[in-house]
Structures are given as structure tokens and as C-alpha cells.
């Protein structure tokens, strides 16, 4: 497809890179010539220098023959304007990044009246991801599917875990709840495990389980489910705001430490029940004074990656039981960060890229049904988990899974039928209207029928 990406920041670059890897024709637009030139050296795209919300620039970039425009500049207004213009000039679908909390309530009106295909809000998504992790503190990362009915939880197997040193088929059959191991990472290698696979200590496991029974699952394999009561958040940016918004519905004590007085006042104004502290989050005595040792979770959301990482390391050191969640913007050094003892790391730009890629693939498949519902990459983006809805015309319907000739390296993880979640066995079959979660380490799936040989 012909895709134009306006605004080459961190997210814009990631999106353009992944689109180019998936063999799309990508044109990038940015006002900064240097950014364009640097990007052209690294990825196979074409660049236009100029303001993406000006018709001349868009026409230069070939807007009339473009299938999709993705506006990811730093300014919400500019993104919306670019999409509006693109739509009028002939772009088929448009995606804008809109991240201001104040706009988020009007997003539906904006979307509908301007004909936007989608408005992505990376900060909101990141906040949602953090909240899910808070629900299952033992897990490193949590992904949900099918209207919050299915979760993929990734966690590190430790000594006390009952899965360690056993073959998967033995240990999982003993569980009382449904669960399926869909991917394992060991020493930088990623496997989609078979039944004979033996889990070792320090492996990262991704396990698919129904959301309802997920806490049970952790109990059975020997992890204590600690309840998060006290949360400390460093940095009062947009993610913190969204997070505070969702945390205000559950019964937890939240402290936000923010450097800027005006921002701090603003948060306090929005969320009166939250304990807002004006101060430097990197100040050790301030952290201790505000109760770092009593906190169950410590979330670093400042704008500086290094600061976030060091703060998490410090918190882990001061209070080993604490759950730390670290936001990291740059992905260049993710393989190093992974080795640090800082529990969960959230990369907002991957989350955004995943959402956009999902839309691109859904559009590319051109099929109303069978569409990609959700796309997430788990285990450091090495494995894709894709959710599909089974269309009435799918070739998969009416045969049991053993009869279907499913390709290698593809795992059918779960079937959601109405309110039921099924972890499928060979004798199960698909019906129209089901949603399924497919896990794959190699393929790039556009369509559910692609999983067949």
C-alpha cells in the first residue's frame, strides 16, 4: 500500500520502519530536513520536506494515490488538520495521533465529523498497559484480547515456580485452570514450545489464560498474588494523567511526584483525591520521605529514559518487594534494558506502532470479515499475537483442528465464543463469529485463512 507518515519523531520513525519492513511504499514528511535525510539513510522510504498540513506538501508526497495517511507530529491540532486535508485531497483512510487528555472526551465527535479512520492515543494506551500490569504484578507484561476475556501474561520462571524444570505437557495438564504456553524466550532465542519443552529457570514465558482465572493460575504455579495498595508515580506527564484517571476508579493510594509546580497543581485540580507532591523525583530523601518503602508499586514516567531506569533500580534496591514499572521511549537499547532487574518496562512507541500496524493490515487484507482485531507483539517484540474474528466464509469453519493443516510456527491460542473462552484441543472446531488468538514467531498474518498450509 501507499502510506504517508507525517512527522518523524520517535513513534513516526518506528512506524515508518515497520511499514517499510512489511514492504509498503512509504513516504515520510517532516519539516526538518536533517531528520528526513537521516531517515533515508536507514530505511527504504522516500522523503518530502515541508509542513504536512499544507496541500502543496501533501501533493508532492502523492496524496492523491495514497491509501493511508498517518499523522504523528507532536501537535494534536496539526495531526487533525493534516488528516482533514488528506481526506479532502484523496487519501483513503487517515490516522491521527491525538493525545491531549482534554480532547480525549471529544475524540468520537472529531473522528466522525472529520472522517478519521482512527485516532491513536499512545499515552492512553501506555496507561492502560500499566494498569493491566498493576493487576498482575507478577507478570512482566500483560496483553488482553477479546474484550478483556483473554490475557497473555509474560513472566520469568523462578525457582519456586512449579513449571520450572518440567515438560510443559506435564505441568500444564496438572493445572486446574485453563492455560497455554505460547512462547518462551531463553538466552535471546524465542520458541513456540511444544509439549515436550522443558522450562528452565530464568526463561521468560508467555502464557495465555482466560482473564477470570488468571489470578488462580498464578497461585497454582506458586506465585503469591500481592495486592497493590500504595502506588508511587514519578513524573506527572500525560501518561500519569491517564493512569490517575483510571486508578481513581479503584481503591488505591496514589502519590504523584512532579517537578513543575503548575503541572502539579493542574493534576491536583483534576484528581483531588490523589496525593500530589511538588518536588524532584530524583531526590532520594524526598522519595523516602513520601513513603517509597511502604509503596507496593513504583512507576517511573519522567521524560528521560535514563532517569526512569536509574530510579527503578534504586527503588528495587531500597525495597526488594516493590513492583517497578519503567517507561522507556528509546528502543535502541532494549536488549540491554531487558537484562536489568527492573520488572516491567513499557515502550509507548511500540504500543502505538502495534495499533497502527493492526489497522494497516486490516486495511490491506481488504476483507470486511476475518479482519485483524488486535495485534500485539510480546516478548520484546519477537512474537506476534494476533486476534481475528472468524468470518462466515472462512475455510477453517466446520473442521476440527486436527483436520486443519496449520502451518509450522503458528499456534492457535484460544477461542472466544460469546462469554466462553476455550483453550482449544485437537477435537475443537471453529464457528463463525468466534474470535481467535493466533501466536506466531515468523509469519506476518493478514487474514485468518493465512494460517493454513
Amino acid at each position: 500500500m501507499n502510506i504517508i507518515v507525517v512527522g518523524i519523531g520517535k513513534v513516526g520513525y518506528t512506524v515508518a520502519e515497520q511499514l517499510a519492513q512489511e514492504k509498503h511504499d512509504v513516504t515520510i514528511i517532516d519539516t526538518n530536513e536533517e531528520v528526513i535525510n537521516d531517515t533515508l539513510q536507514d530505511i527504504d522510504v522516500i522523503g518530502v520536506i515541508g509542513n504536512g498540513a499544507v496541500s502543496k506538501t501533501l501533493l508532492d508526497a502523492g496524496i492523491d494515490e495514497c491509501d493511508m495517511l498517518i499523522a504523528l507530529t507532536g501537535s494534536d491540532e496539526l495531526n487533525i488538520l493534516a488528516c482533514l486535508l488528506a481526506k479532502k485531497l484523496g487519501a483513503d483512510s487517515t490516522i491521527a495521533r491525538v493525545r491531549n487528555l482534554e480532547y480525549s472526551n471529544d475524540l468520537k465527535i472529531i473522528k466522525d465529523s472529520l472522517g478519521l479512520t482512527m485516532a491513536v492515543n499512545p499515552e492512553k494506551e501506555a496507561a492502560a498497559e500499566i494498569q493491566r500490569i498493576l493487576k498482575f504484578p507478577t507478570a512482566r507484561n500483560v496483553t488482553f484480547f477479546g474484550h478483556d476475556q483473554v490475557d497473555i501474561l509474560s513472566f520469568v520462571a523462578n525457582k519456586s515456580c512449579s513449571l520450572t524444570d518440567k515438560a510443559i505437557k506435564d505441568s500444564f495438564s496438572k493445572l486446574k485452570t485453563q492455560a497455554l504456553a505460547c512462547a518462551v524466550e531463553r538466552n535471546d532465542e524465542v520458541f513456540i514450545p511444544t509439549g515436550d519443552f522443558v522450562v528452565q529457570e530464568h526463561d521468560t514465558l508467555a502464557v495465555l489464560t482466560p482473564t477470570k482465572t488468571a489470578p488462580d493460575f498464578f497461585k497454582q504455579i506458586g506465585y503469591k498474588m500481592q495486592d497493590i495498595k500504595n502506588i508511587m508515580i514519578i513524573g506527572g506527564g500525560k501518561i500519569a494523567m491517564y493512569l490517575a484517571d483510571s486508578l481513581s476508579h479503584i481503591n488505591v493510594n496514589t502519590t504523584i511526584i512532579e517537578k513543575d509546580l503548575e503541572t502539579a497543581k493542574n493534576i491536583s485540580d483534576f484528581f483531588p483525591h490523589i496525593n500530589v507532591v511538588h518536588g524532584d523525583g530524583t531526590n532520594r530523601s524526598l522519595l523516602l520521605e513520601e513513603g517509597l518503602l511502604e509503596a507496593d508499586a513504583f512507576i517511573c514516567l519522567t521524560g528521560i529514559d535514563e532517569e526512569n531506569i536509574v530510579l527503578s533500580l534504586f527503588a528495587k534496591n531500597a525495597s526488594p518487594k516493590i513492583k517497578t514499572i519503567t517507561k522507556v521511549n528509546h528502543t535502541l537499547f532494549s536488549e540491554v534494558i531487558k537484562t536489568l532487574d527492573i520488572d516491567s518496562v513499557v515502550y509507548p512507541k511500540f504500543t502505538t506502532a502495534d495499533i497502527i500496524m493492526k489497522n494497516v493490515r486490516a486495511k490491506q487484507s481488504g476483507n470486511e470479515r476475518n479482519d485483524v482485531q488486535k495485534l500485539t507483539r510480546i516478548i520484546n517484540n519477537r512474537v506476534e499475537a494476533v486476534e481475528f474474528e472468524v468470518g462466515a466464509d472462512s475455510q477453517l469453519i466446520g473442521k476440527t483442528l486436527t483436520e486443519l493443516n496449520i502451518r509450522k510456527n503458528i499456534l492457535l491460542g484460544s477461542i472466544t465464543r460469546g462469554k466462553d473462552v476455550i483453550i482449544p484441543k485437537g477435537s475443537d472446531a471453529l464457528c463463525a463469529g468466534d474470535t481467535v488468538v493466533i501466536v506466531t514467531s515468523t509469519e506476518r498474518l493478514l487474514n485468518l485463512d493465512d494460517i493454513l498450509e
Binding site: 511504499d25 530536513e33 530505511i43 527504504d44
Partner: protein
């Protein structure tokens, strides 16, 4: 530096050359010539070496800027060495240095020859000789890239930048390999058109195709001894028009193809190019009109020669060495200017000239108005200081290599005009030179002119010429990077000295 990747691409290039050699092989089979074995041997050799290199597929396919330059420079040298084998093995060019000169001259689209007699050559070798013109015109790596994506990332752009002529290279479409394909498509279509027009003019099929190759690559190899001196006026007109067409930036054809006519005809470089051609043709026509029977004939020869030398093709319709001094001087200057950037032509390139002239004008203005601010614009866009610096550096390197070559050539027996025009001609991938002295084969004096050849020069001079042609075609920087030892090697050497 990614050495594995460099070796891998060289392997691909060799296999690619083997594939290209199939065409002259087929020609040899059709005409039943004895050169068949020479071609088969070369193809086998290329395949064996190439496949061995391809076998070691690099894990890391990144091509950095320096790698891009090295791949291109090394690739062209290897292609030339192997491309010379058929001439040498078949014995039609008995000395290897001569065969190499002929191949480099072909690939770099120079068209200078060491042969005084081409009509007696076998058809298959004549075909290969002109085919190298065609391959070299658009570039071999661009061809490889069109067939398969190399690095998949931005690295392909480094290759294209290193190989394509002109100061700045942009992609036409987002994907590098699609861009390469479009370029070759335009190139192929124009070549086919040229061949068809020649066929209509009554030229035999073989002559039409080979001549179209020489014209398309703005190469200048002719299959006739007197270039196009005795060709029909119709053929000469067709060739003159197509030479001029191939000297235009291919981006303009692409813009026409996607129906953006307004953008295409806005090009500053295009109008300057056309302007220079019209002005030169007018002056030369008036200047030479008394040598020809009618003003029409004078115009015919003037336009053919201007089109030929401006685009660095080097065909001749008549011995322009006998023309008046004014015309000869204009022609020499045109040789230096060359064609448009992004075309198959050689030379300094019209766009570089425009940039330098504009820059000089700006600097002159700032002498009398020291505080005046003026933004340099080219093709409607602001020119970055970096581009100006790059162009100035290019100019300096150009002059430096010119002087160095001239000094080395002076050891030979040619006269000054011959030497100067020879170096200009080869450095700009032109072909013919001009001379002062009357040709006298007995005295052993080398003299220039479109109908003479480079055969009598000494081996040293030939090596200098070969390097000059490569320098000119690859626009200096790739070859210079290849010849400069890397930092680690320099360090090793200096360490050894210290010990």
C-alpha cells in the same frame, strides 16, 4: 566496514555480468563465429567465482556510506577486468592492456578506442563492445538492484548515490528497487525507440541495435571506421536527437510518465541544457558555414557534433578537428560541461555548473554589499551550504586529477593540444580528442582528432587513461575512497614504523 557484504555484492555482480555476456554469446552462435569459446570461458569463470562469493551470504546486510562507495568502485574494476577477457582470449585485441582500455572505455560510456579498424572485428565482439556502452550508461549496480533488493534498508541508497551520475540522487518512488526498475524501464523504452527509428531509416538490424546501444549509454562506440561520417543524413538526425534525449535527467521522463508535466518543464537544468545546445549550434553553424556547400548542411553537422559532445557521446559526423579554432574551442568547453545530472551522460554536469555560477554571483554581490542576505535557489528549492561545499570540493578534485593526469601523459609523444583534449575527453567520458599536428604515422607522433585512436599511446598513458575514465564515470569519490587506506590499516602501518 561490512566486508562480507561487499564480497557478496561483488559475487552478485559477477553472476550478473555472466548473464549479460549471454547476449554476445548468442550473437556469436547466430553468426557462427569462432569467438564462442572465448565467451563461454569468460561466462564459466565469472559464474564459478561469483557463485563462490554468493555462497557466503552475510548475516548483517547493512551497507554503510563507505561500503557503498567501495562496492561500486571495486565492482566496476572487477567488471572491467572480466569484461576484457573475451577480446583478449579471442585474440582480436592481442594485448591485455588494450582489451582493458576498450572495456573500461565501453563501460564508462567513453567510447575512446585503441582500434583503428573496427569493421573487421567479429560481430559478437562488436556487439559486446557496444553492449558495454549500454550497461555502463545506467549502471550495473542499479541493474542488480532492479532485479533484487540488496540490503533492504537505506543501504541501497548509498549504492545508487555512489553509482548514479550527478550531485544529488533522489528516489522516484519509496522503494529503491522499484526506482531502479523504473529507471531501467525508461532507459530500455528509449533505446528500443532509437533502434526502431534507425531500422526505419534502412539500417540493418545488427547495426541498428548496436548503434542504439552506443547512443543510449551516450557511449560513442561506433561499428563503422569513420564513426557516422558516411551514414545517411536521416540516421544522423535520429542519432543526434536521441543523444540529446539521453542527456536529459531521467527524473524528467518519470515526471512525464506520471503526467506531472508542469513539474517536468519547470526544471532549471533542462532549460539551461537546451539553452547551451541552441547557442552553441548557432555559433558553430555560422562559424563553419563556409566549409560546407549549404547552411543546411553546416547546421546538420553542427547540431550532430554539439549533441554528441555535450552529452559526452563522442560520435562524429565529420572530422571536426579541421573546423575553425572558435568552433573547436566551443566544442572543448562543451566536453567539460557535459550532460544533465541523472542522465546517462558524463562530464561535470549542467547542474553543478549552475550551482557554481550562482554561488560565484552571490559571492561577487557580497563584495559590494557585505551585509546583503541572499538565499541560493536551484530548481525552486533552497540550496544547502553542504551541497555548495560538496560541489566546490568536487570541482577542486576534478581540476587536481586533470592536472595530475596531464603531467603523466606529457611523458608520451603527443602534442599539447592532443594531450589536453585527450585527458578532457576521457575524464568526461567523451571519446574523441583533437590535435594540432598533421598525422604522420611514420614519424610516430601521436595526434588527435575524431578519426584517430588511442592505440599509439604508451602503457603508462593507457593506465592513466583507464583510471581517468573510471574516475569520470564514478565521479571521483568512490575510487578515491577505495584507493585511500582505511584508518585501521594506516594505524597498523604507523605502528610498524614506530616499532
Amino acid at each position: 566496514m561490512n566486508k562480507r557484504m561487499i564480497a557478496y555484492v561483488q559475487g552478485l555482480l559477477m553472476v550478473c555480468e555472466a548473464g549479460l555476456l549471454l547476449l554476445p554469446l548468442i550473437t556469436a552462435l547466430i553468426y557462427g563465429e569462432s569467438t564462442v569459446s572465448a565467451f563461454i570461458f569468460t561466462i564459466c569463470l565469472l559464474c564459478v567465482v561469483g557463485l563462490v562469493l554468493i555462497k557466503f551470504k552475510p548475516k548483517d546486510k547493512t551497507i554503510y556510506a563507505r561500503d557503498g562507495l567501495v562496492i561500486v568502485a571495486l565492482g566496476w574494476i572487477i567488471l572491467s577486468l572480466f569484461g576484457a577477457l573475451p577480446y583478449y582470449i579471442s585474440g582480436e585485441i592481442p594485448r591485455f592492456i588494450d582489451a582493458l582500455f576498450e572495456t573500461v572505455s565501453g563501460l564508462t560510456t567513453t567510447g575512446a578506442s585503441i582500434l583503428s579498424e573496427v569493421e573487421s572485428m567479429s560481430k559478437s565482439l562488436l556487439f559486446w563492445r557496444n553492449f558495454t556502452n549500454w550497461i555502463g550508461g545506467m549502471g550495473v549496480l542499479v541493474f542488480v538492484m532492479a532485479v533484487l533488493p540488496l540490503s533492504g534498508g537505506g543501504g541501497d541508497l548509498h549504492l545508487m548515490k555512489a553509482e548514479a551520475p550527478g550531485p544529488s540522487v533522489g528516489k522516484l518512488v519509496p522503494k529503491s528497487n522499484k526506482t531502479a526498475r523504473i529507471l531501467y524501464l525508461i532507459y530500455f523504452a528509449l533505446t528500443a525507440a532509437c533502434a526502431i527509428f534507425l531500422l526505419i531509416g534502412g539500417l540493418p538490424l545488427f547495426d541498428s541495435i548496436t548503434t542504439a546501444f552506443g547512443t543510449a549509454g551516450t557511449g560513442g562506440f561506433s561499428i563503422y571506421n569513420d564513426s557516422f561520417g558516411s551514414a545517411s543524413p536521416y540516421c544522423r538526425t535520429v542519432i543526434a536527437v536521441f543523444m540529446a534525449l539521453f542527456g536529459i535527467n531521467f527524473n524528467i521522463y518519470f515526471l512525464l510518465l506520471i503526467k506531472r508535466f508542469k513539474d517536468a518543464f519547470k526544471s532549471e537544468e533542462l532549460w539551461t541544457y537546451i539553452g547551451i545546445i541552441i547557442a552553441s549550434v548557432t555559433v558553430i553553424t555560422i562559424n563553419i558555414s563556409n566549409q560546407f556547400s549549404s547552411i543546411g548542411e553546416a547546421f546538420h553537422h553542427a547540431s550532430f557534433q554539439v549533441s554528441s559532445l555535450m552529452t559526452s557521446t563522442g560520435f562524429s559526423s565529420t572530422d571536426f578537428n579541421q573546423w575553425p579554432e572558435l568552433s573547436r574551442t566551443i566544442l572543448i568547453m562543451m566536453m567539460c560541461v557535459g550532460a544533465c545530472a541523472g542522465s546517462t551522460g558524463g562530464g561535470f554536469k549542467v547542474s553543478r555548473l549552475i550551482l557554481l555560477v550562482k554561488y560565484a554571483a552571490k559571492e561577487l554581490r557580497s563584495v559590494s554589499h557585505p551585509r546583503s542576505v541572499k538565499v541560493l535557489k536551484f530548481e525552486g528549492r533552497r540550496v544547502k551550504d553542504e551541497t555548495i561545499r560538496g560541489t566546490t570540493a568536487y570541482f577542486i578534485v576534478y581540476v587536481a586529477i586533470f592536472c595530475l593526469s596531464l603531467i603523466l601523459i606529457s611523458f608520451d609523444k603527443g602534442d599539447t593540444t592532443t594531450n589536453i583534449t585527450s585527458v578532457i575527453s576521457l575524464l568526461n567520458n567523451m571519446g574523441p580528442n583533437m590535435g594540432d599536428r598533421i598525422v604522420d604515422s611514420a614519424s610516430g607522433i601521436i595526434s588527435g582528432g575524431p578519426l584517430t585512436n588511442f592505440g599509439p599511446f604508451s602503457n603508462l598513458s593507457k593506465i592513466v587513461f583507464i583510471l581517468d575514465m573510471l574516475f569520470g564515470r564514478l565521479e571521483f569519490f568512490p575510487l578515491i575512497v577505495l584507493l585511500t587506506p582505511s584508518r585501521s590499516l594506516r594505524q597498523k602501518l604507523s605502528n610498524r614504523k614506530r616499532l
